[in-house]
Symmetry: C2
Subunit: 80 residues, 2 copies
């Protein structure tokens, strides 16, 4: 089973990297670009066929290692 | 319109950061974790209501700034 985990800064936490990307895009002439936020995406191959167990394990991974839950939030997406 | 852009290393390009995450997860006892790849996710607020135009603009952004197309691939996801 493949999983995709998104780790992004919580709303309200300043994101200088996202701001820099937004400014650069505006500077390149993309005037329609508003707010930009940048985060991480982690693609994981899991040797686990049960979706519930996979989700529970991924949740624990995020809590323990992948996300700093003080300032970051995470989303888990399971594929096939 | 909100858009989400994923920028990840092409298959075959070595991803030491992903490898490190995989090792760390195995070390924490998550033995079901196989291959791990890490990439970037960029959430963009676009002042554009036409999906076709938005996708074209995002494609151009990726080519010009967001992705290094020699080693990275990108996916564009449009939301509402």
């Amino acid at each position: 089973m493949k999983a995709r985990v998104f780790v992004t800064l919580k709303n309200g936490v300043l994101d200088p990297q996202g701001k820099a990307i937004g400014h650069a895009l505006n500077g390149l002439g993309f005037s329609s670009v508003g707010d930009v936020r940048q985060g991480k995406v982690i693609d994981i191959d899991l040797h686990e066929s049960d979706a519930g167990k996979a989700r529970a394990a991924l949740n624990e991974m995020c809590q323990k290692l992948l996300a700093n839950t003080v300032i970051e939030k995470y989303e888990i997406e399971l594929k096939a």
